[in-house]
Symmetry: C2
Subunit: 375 residues, 2 copies
């Protein structure tokens, strides 16, 4: 009648259960709150462009139709934006989806990937999840990426994948195009360079890698950050046709939501709104830097929509995340040394920034008064 | 400066490029039409419930926030619907996504899966894509599934996965719960039984497998068909906790669109509307059967939202798909013998059914008049 549940394949059976992120909804449930001020996931506090909202509202009427699995209209617009061909672009359900494709297509079990220790955890999740090995190099103490160290480690391990987020998450630091180009040239031949530019829209285009496409590099971009469409799950990558063709052999054909496709296409045209968001995010970063200075806390110079505050020790930083959660504010922190002494705070709206500043100052004062909770 | 593009991992390098489906958007582009009457992808012609449309419109305002990666509110509602626990449910971006998880988690490269030859092609796409081997058993000539043959093949190949769509796609045929239960009991121990119930909402619940959960079976359900949310990409599976826990180790945490989550939750409560859709689909099937009789074509009795018409030969069926496309009507056909002599037509609205009937009769008459195109 029933019987035992089957055993997973060895690779999955032996994986430790792990989740790259605990979401604010779950933290709210745990803490008994209906909602939190969301400054932990680097979502846009400014929402999508009105053009995207309108396009999505209209597209909802066609929600019973599958989206175009080729995302052709969107890819044509993206190809025009980036001066490449539609054959150089894959659209996916967020960069997380595209990172999974890049790992699955270019890393066999046992292959080595090199990344910065503590950088975007979902990349590491995929590397481990597909049975490859992640070799890491720590951040420099100032929060910048050790590009020379990464290149050396890639040679030493004969890495077939190298991951760089630029601008970086969770540090917020940034390497200019010339450094990224030199880094690409310093990598071992045959390695795929996975360049995660999720926060690239916060940096003027001339500071990023330009076309033509480098056949060794897959650049990933998203609608989740400056375009304000994180909940829609839509992103894309730009790469050599052969890389896009490899992804096409294994990607989920119908993985992208039709309403998201319409929203992304409209958002691409909303230049003025996105420029406003980028300026408002710059103002917010300046607010946070001033707040850090006022509170006597260092910050890492950021080119993203978040800022890291230096709490001095990992324990203090962890206690601060908890203390802010108690006050209804969701933030996150980097997991690995040397950045584990920081908390990472998304640029909110002006009123969210003010609410955060109040709670942060309050929690800091309390922590100072009660050293037992902050060793 | 540039260099050669990296080589994919051997498994992906050696995969033949393949796409489970060519979408109507691509067919429209090829044929120079702005749009087609969509009767080829078994989308709901009746749209989502108004409750779901309203919930999605409201949720668009929060599109800049990631969805809850645990889909907790939706899973609670689903657990109540199915009399199980949230720990028995994974929500994914369509059954395609969940099939990928089931293959990746339970089939190692070289393992064998057993399925009906010509059944849902995306399952085969995943099996091949993850380096496993698909062993097949043909449909019976009447379009029903050869359950005894599948079980025997599973034993002979020591299969670790067995796939059954019930109601089946592309045939539309259906095996009652008692047969499915007997089939599960006839499978080799240790095999995961992947039961795709994408069309399950068109069958009264008592005719489907009931709770309690059988630890050997993962049942897949979708919001794409009776609930009218194909474009939203949201589906779920019900299984033993250990199966759900295995999926949790590898699934895309943030893979589901926030607006889809809201729409699915609202759709679940729209009992009256969904019952109306099911009744209208029954009427449409009766229309199609009557049409077949009128045109002298056999049909396979269907429990889904589509009907297969017997054109006699594969060549005639292929020519009919092309002839309808020329008339602006998108349909599909089963790919493998013995069902390759059929065309598969989704139940449209009353006016779509009438338009299809006209084009179909016209194309048939023309084919009869010109035997060169229909050997």
């Amino acid at each position: 009648m029933s019987g035992e549940p089957p055993q997973p394949a060895p690779l999955v059976r032996d994986l430790a259960p792990t989740r790259p992120f605990i979401a604010p909804e779950e933290l709210a449930r745990r803490s008994g709150r209906a909602s939190l001020i969301r400054l932990g996931a680097n979502e846009s506090a400014f929402g999508p462009p009105s053009e995207a909202l309108a396009a999505m509202r209209a597209e909802i009427e066609r929600a019973s139709w599958y989206g175009d699995p080729e995302s052709m209209e969107l890819r044509e617009a993206l190809a025009a934006r980036h001066g490449c061909h539609v054959e150089n672009i894959t659209v996916g359900a967020g960069i997380d989806d595209l990172l999974g494709l890049a790992v699955r297509a270019y890393l066999a079990p046992g292959d080595v990937s090199v990344a910065t220790l503590g950088s975007y955890p979902t990349y590491a999740y995929h590397v481990t999840g597909y049975g490859a090995t992640l070799a890491t190099v720590p951040y420099r103490d100032d929060g910048s990426i050790d590009l020379e160290g990464l290149a050396a480690r890639a040679h030493a391990t004969r890495a077939r994948h190298v991951y760089l987020a630029n601008p970086d998450n969770p540090s917020g630091s940034f390497a200019p195009a010339s450094d990224v180009r030199a880094f690409a040239d310093a990598l071992p031949p045959g390695a795929l360079f996975v360049l995660d530019e999720a926060y690239g829209d916060f940096v003027p285009a001339p500071e990023l890698l330009a076309e033509p496409i480098d056949p060794r590099i897959v650049r990933m971009r998203t609608f989740s950050k400056a375009f304000g469409l994180a909940g829609a799950r839509i992103a894309y990558c730009i790469a050599d046709r052969s890389v896009i063709a490899a992804f096409a052999k294994i990607r989920l054909q119908f993985g992208v939501n039709r309403i998201a496709q319409a929203g992304a296409l409209a958002a691409l045209g909303a230049h003025a709104y996105v420029a406003d968001v980028v300026r408002e995010v710059e103002r917010g970063r300046a607010d946070y830097e001033a707040l850090g200075a006022r509170l006597g806390l260092g910050t890492i110079p950021s080119r993203t929509n978040f800022v890291c505050f230096d709490l001095g020790t990992r324990a203090r930083a962890e206690a601060m995340v908890d203390a802010l959660l108690e006050r209804g504010v969701f933030i996150r922190k980097p997991g690995a040394a040397p950045l584990d002494r920081y908390v990472r705070v998304t640029v909110g709206t002006e009123s969210e920034r003010a609410a955060f500043a109040t709670s942060f100052a309050e929690a800091l004062a309390l922590a100072g008064a009660n050293p037992a909770t902050c060793p």
